[in-house]
């Protein structure tokens, strides 16, 4: 009888599976990822490597010595040990973060604009006291510009009514506000000493949300060519809430990481973060095989470093507030050893 190992589903729960069952999950995950993103499945030797990683009974799993990658964070700190600057020290000195991120709990550039001087002061203090690079992060968060939270008609209400042209016009108007706010905050943060900006979950409200981020990045980089820009996706492909928007002549709706990374680099992004959602009813192994299949062509062809979004609910990491270290370690190991990611 084949031995079984303790592993996890992507909701975080423990299950026991045999290596054969894990191998079957890996094959199914890569086949589905390949079909969905229209990319090749993982090679047999890559599935073999994943099988070894996920069939281990060890508590922890890690890359070979010398094959370490860079760890960036969309928000550093949990606000449970003093000030935000204290948390940044902790992430720098004790939790292994290589790129730190100052953030506010209202993680939206529109919200940050109203408290910018306060945030700038924290950035300035932090920069005097930290060695590791420190960026400022928030979301483009285009939905905030629609009524009742913002000044623009609500396209989520217009679309079900079939008022397509009005919905598109509303998104285009919101985009102008968002670009202005993101550039405004970026200028303030650069003045305060930030090493870079993070436009996290870009595209969360669809293609207009993403286009606003790309346009803001292009404008910021034209004025500050040395500033770092990290752009993270919101899901595995770009949602077409507008459907007709283009950047540099490319339609954004429906783009997968492989195509988007090229546009991001053209805009001036220096670190790109693809995001692949997890299926919580499947094993972590299944989810990692699927995620790696989708991002592998992006990593292979990217002109800039690719940091996979590997946190709760994305990139194969279980969807739970306290992702178990055994699962996170296996995901991280797989992302570098098999996926050749530049960072997480």
């Amino acid at each position: 009888m084949e031995r079984s190992v303790t592993t996890r589903l992507a909701d975080g729960s423990l299950v026991r599976m045999t290596p054969s069952e894990i191998r079957a999950d890996l094959e199914e995950g890569t086949a589905l990822g390949a079909k969905r993103a229209k990319v090749p499945p993982l090679e047999p030797d890559e599935l073999e490597q994943l099988g070894e990683i996920f069939s281990s009974s060890a508590r922890f799993s890690a890359v070979d010595i010398g094959d370490e990658l860079v760890l960036s964070c969309d928000g550093s700190g949990n606000l449970d040990s003093g000030t935000r600057v204290d948390e940044l020290y902790s992430y720098q000195s004790h939790r292994g973060a290589d790129i730190l991120e100052l953030y506010h709990i209202d993680y939206s550039y529109k919200a940050i604009k109203t408290i910018l001087s306060f945030e700038q002061q924290v950035m300035k203090t932090a920069q005097l006291n930290l060695v590791a690079p420190l960026q400022y992060g928030a979301m483009p968060d285009l939905g905030r510009y629609s009524r009742p939270d913002g000044p623009v008609a609500n396209w989520s209400e217009l679309l079900p009514l079939g008022r397509i042209d009005e919905a598109r016009a509303a998104q285009e108007e919101a985009m102008e506000h968002a670009v202005r706010d993101m550039v405004f905050v970026a200028e303030g943060m650069i003045e305060a000493g930030a090493d870079g900006l993070d436009f996290d979950t870009s595209g969360a409200a669809g293609d207009a949300d993403l286009l606003a981020a790309l346009r803001a990045v292009e404008e910021i980089k034209s004025r500050h060519p040395d500033v770092g820009i990290e752009l993270g996706m919101a899901s595995e492909f770009v949602l077409g809430m507008h459907g007709e928007l283009e950047f540099h002549g490319r339609r954004l709706a429906g783009l997968w990481p492989r195509d988007l990374v090229e546009l991001a680099a053209e805009a001036g992004v220096t670190v790109f973060g693809p995001a692949v959602n997890v299926n919580t009813t499947k094993s972590v192994a299944w989810n990692v095989a699927r995620a790696l299949t989708i991002v592998k062509p992006c990593v292979a062809e990217s002109p800039i470093p690719v940091h996979m979004n590997a946190g709760m609910g994305v990139g194969g990491v279980p969807m739970t507030p306290y992702p178990p270290a055994d699962a996170v370690a296996r995901v991280s190991h797989a992302m570098r050893t098999v996926g050749r990611l530049d960072g997480l």
Binding site: E68, S72, Q92, D98, I99, N129, A132, A194, D195, P305
Partner: protein, 112 residues
């Protein structure tokens, strides 16, 4: 920062370098091998020698070594990469201090 992750990260972030290129650049500038970059023992000595910042712990404090912002001046020079807050610091320190007001400003003569 226990080793050289922050330095490699800075090249990714500022120059958009892929991981292997960023590691090669940092290793070449520090005069070590890429394998040394993740070794905390080697990197402690290198960081100390070049003034690139160290993590003070209970038994090891470094009051005589460059602190955070000071270390970033050295990082910018060693890696040959601009660091925004270093440039801002330099700009602010270089501002002329006219001392025309305040407690130590020359007092106007009071007529007898």
């Amino acid at each position: 920062m226990r080793a050289a992750g922050d330095l490699v990260a800075r090249m990714q972030m500022t120059r958009g370098m892929r991981l292997d290129d960023a590691k090669a650049h940092v290793a070449e500038r520090l005069g070590v091998s890429t394998d040394d970059l993740s070794d905390p023992l080697v990197m402690h000595d290198v960081r100390r020698e070049l003034g690139l910042g160290l993590i003070p712990v209970q038994e090891l404090t470094y009051p005589g070594e460059p602190g955070a912002i000071e270390a970033k001046f050295h990082i910018a020079e060693v890696l040959d990469v601009p660091i925004n807050c270093v440039e801002k610091f330099r700009e602010h320190v270089g501002r002329p201090a006219t001392r025309s007001t305040g407690a130590f400003a020359p007092k106007a003569e009071v007529p007898a």
